[in-house]
Amino acid sequence: MNKNIPLLKKYLPVAFGGLLLTASIGLMSNSGITTEARSEQKLTEASLKVDTVATGLTMPWASALLPNGDLLVTERGGKLRLVKDGKLDPQEITGVPEVFYKGQGGLLDINLHPDYKTNGWIYISYSSPKAAGEEGDEGGANTALIRAKLKDHALTDIQQLFKAIPNVKANVHYGGRIVFDKKGYVFLSLGERGQKENSQNLGRDQGKVVRLHEDGKIPTDNPFVKTEGARPEIWTYGHRNPQGMIIHPTTGVIWEHEHGPQGGDELNIIEKGKNYGWPLITFGIDYDNSIISKDTARAGLEQPVVYWKPSIAPCGMTFLTNDKFKDWKGDLLVGSLKFMYLQHLVVKGNKVISREIIFDKIGRVRDVRQGWDGNVYVVLENSGKVVRISPKG
């Protein structure tokens, strides 16, 4: 409804003009209004189609659409796969680092550098087992970020850019999303590894979003660079398990979603140095039904844009930026791992004004992203597929 108001304003003078002119001209200008209002309106699930673009994957986690239309897909077990002409290439890609494949760990996100066409950099996150000399639990792991180039079926020029510290012996909450802000920085989301109190500890990388230069160097203007005892890579803190992150196409603001406790999944806007409150405030309760905090808000702690009760286990989201999605342009699509559907969130400014379920029973959604072709690629863990959502005809 709101969308019609500016339209109305715009055409009101025309309509008045029509009244002053002959009746026929008046009628014509009126019909013009209704047609235009209708064509801007109401894309629905029924006007979209789902095409399978890859099958036969084992526990896929994320995908990246290459400029030539090939698709790179991570499999959580530790393999990187290529999909060519709609067929899964049986030859896996070599050079993938050793992953800690246990619980929720494994090979996680993949994203192409914004200038991939010229520099060829591919960024990959994964749960990395404790290496000699690293801080933390023996037999533990934490999230790491590498970049590499693809030559035929091999990763080359592999550079480790970052490893979250300390290593923790738990199977859960790795986070792992990678985004670029096109100003030369890369952001990586990190889960609290099952130790909620450490989300508030600036001396540890758990439950944080970190910001790095694209080559892994730590920016000197990060918010906690001068804070004693704080890790300089930290950009925001107080997160639980953030597994969705995307830059808003026009404002450049980072939107993030995270798995909360029972009834406390959140959608947040990520801003420098801020504390998102886990576990000091939350809308959820623990999965053993115990109370984590009696507070849902406290001074100095950020509120989510929205939260999900019951939890949907959000995993992957994208803004729709292509005109072919019509009145959904600028909205968010969020995947639900738990309930196997997508949610369409109507976004206005920094607010979500409505939510609807689309493509119910599509599968366990791990990743949702818009490719350069404007279509949305969804990774489905249970069926081992990648599907493409695009407007019909």
């Binding site: 199977n171 859960v172 029972q262 999965y287 039904n289 863990e381 249970n382 069926s383």
Partner: protein, 136 residues
Amino acid sequence: MKLLLGLLSAAIFCSAIMPGQDDELAKSIERGKMVYSENCITCHMSAGEGIPASFPPLAKSDYFDKNPDNAIKTVKFGLIGKIKVNGMEYDNMMPNPGLGNDEIADVVNYIMNSWGNTSEKKIVTEKMVEETKEKK
């Protein structure tokens, strides 16, 4: 006389090992509770009740009655596709949680002895898990 002696020694032997087994089971259940709260609780919920039509219950589940190996198999290999539990159909996927055989034994012992379930003091051991194969 020989028979009596045999019976007597058997009885003594049993009384000596039985508390040991119970103790082992209790310890395994305790460890299993931790494994459960890390890997299973978000879908199967704190009282094993699951979420109707999405995630099957573990509490008093007839899926385990029919074949006790099902619990070990599911935790060891994950599960995909249609199953029927307590009269309701589920068509979902449980990813292989990637646990060690010791952790699988612990969590199965916990599940089989919680929320009204009982293994009647039988314990699942690491060795049993190791010997469990995906296909029958």
